[in-house]
């Protein structure tokens, strides 16, 4: 009887999280993979052939972190995964933009772009995200300790 009640409580708590995670995952998948593939795939494939694969990996990584973050909402692991997400994105951007220097060939023309400023913008955002997640984790742990002390 008590086990059934526990199960019911768990499901009651988890089903909205799973639903929210599914919706968020689908939304991000649509925004980051389906839409760019629909509109930009031919252009990207023509200009930067290797980048279609990178776009897919980026979408998969984002969807993974969004889903995990939603499922672990309300726990310290949510913030831990957010910190991990910021670090993974930093590494991903540095890899995808080849450290800020990308080169490609378009018919008989060779093009080199120095995207260090653009990379710096992306890394700044990730640093802010990292700082936010760290503060959230500290805040979460602080509040948890306060609650335990109050009990």
């Amino acid at each position: 009887m008590a086990e059934d009640k526990g199960m019911q409580m768990f499901l009651k708590k988890m089903i909205p999280k799973v639903l929210k995670a599914t919706v968020m995952g689908l939304l991000w998948f649509f925004l980051l993979y389906a839409l760019p593939t629909l509109f930009l795939s031919e252009l990207v494939e023509e200009v930067l052939p290797g980048y279609t694969q990178l776009l897919s990996i980026f979408a998969i990584v984002i969807v993974f972190f969004v889903v995990v973050s939603e499922l672990l909402a309300g726990t310290i692991f949510q913030y831990a995964f957010n910190i991990g997400k910021a670090l993974v994105f930093m590494a991903f951007f540095i890899y995808a933009l080849n450290g800020g220097f990308i080169a490609f060939d378009l018919e008989f023309v060779h093009i080199e772009a120095d995207l260090r400023v653009y990379l710096a913008m992306l890394l700044t955002i990730d640093f802010l995200g990292l700082a936010k997640s760290l503060l959230q984790a500290i805040d979460f742990l602080g509040k948890k300790t306060e609650r335990q002390l109050a009990i």
Partner: protein, 254 residues
């Protein structure tokens, strides 16, 4: 703590929106840039150099400015010797505007002679043209574009040949000289022909040359003889022409 977290959250969201907007507008703007190199080229001469002026226009229909545009062309012969290096600079192309400029490529035939590339005067060939374009887009993205093309080179003295020597009088022979001007410029000047015979005596004659581009030259040059010539060993050709200033060609006969 709460306010700091909120502030960081807002900052992250705003920066993401700005970066996404910037990325989108940069891609859109880059697609609105049009370069036109199709206007007719002009060929002019100055200081013994031939200058081909290539008018071009850049239409920047995008939302960002193009700055520090540098167009450099490097013409290189088969043996990697540089023949010409020309640079054009455009400091700024404002957004939604068109800039018309001229890129001048100068080739000095004197330089060609100095660099021991005389085969270019006698044989048609293909020259390598390395083109480099550097610019900064939106004051944030430096771009380098390079391309390698080949350009046909027409020799001004293509198929240069000394024909038969015909005796006109006891004091004069005619030496026929022929070539075809495959160059894109005309030849205008004089040629002095010197015959060195087996007795090591020289006999010379001079003729005017005026050969338009793609025209042939085939004339007999009268050479004065003070004495009966021995066998012809060498013929020296001295060009005194606008581009081939004081160029000497020695041809061994037989």
């Amino acid at each position: 703590m709460k306010h700091a977290i909120q502030a960081l959250g807002w900052a992250t969201t705003i920066l993401w929106i700005l970066v996404i907007l910037f990325s989108g507008t940069v891609v859109y703007s880059a697609m609105q840039i049009k370069m036109n190199f199709e206007e007719e080229h002009q060929v002019t001469t100055s200081d013994n150099a031939l200058t081909r002026s290539i008018p071009f226009s850049i239409s920047n229909g995008g939302l960002y400015e193009i700055s520090e545009l540098n167009i450099t062309t490097l013409i290189v012969a088969e043996n990697e010797t540089s023949i010409s290096r020309s640079t054009s600079l455009v400091p700024l192309i404002p957004k939604t505007s068109t800039v018309n400029e001229i890129h001048n490529i100068s080739v000095s035939l004197e330089d060609i002679l100095d660099k021991n590339l005389t085969y270019l005067l006698l044989n048609d060939t293909d020259l390598n043209v390395d083109m480099f374009i550097a610019l900064t887009y939106a004051y944030a993205i430096p771009l380098k574009i390079s391309s390698n093309l080949t350009m046909p080179w027409g020799a001004p003295l293509y198929n240069l040949a000394i024909g038969g020597i015909s005796i006109v009088s006891p004091n004069q022979v005619n030496v026929s000289l022929s070539f075809k001007n495959h160059a894109f410029f005309s030849l205008n000047g004089t040629v002095r022909l010197e015959i060195v015979d087996s007795n090591n005596r020289t006999h010379s004659g001079t003729a005017d040359i005026f050969v338009l581009s793609e025209d042939s030259y085939d004339k007999a040059i009268p050479v004065a003889m003070e004495a009966t010539p021995g066998d012809v060993v060498e013929v020296h050709l001295y060009f005194d022409e606008m581009y081939l200033e004081s160029w000497t060609l020695v041809m061994a006969i037989g």
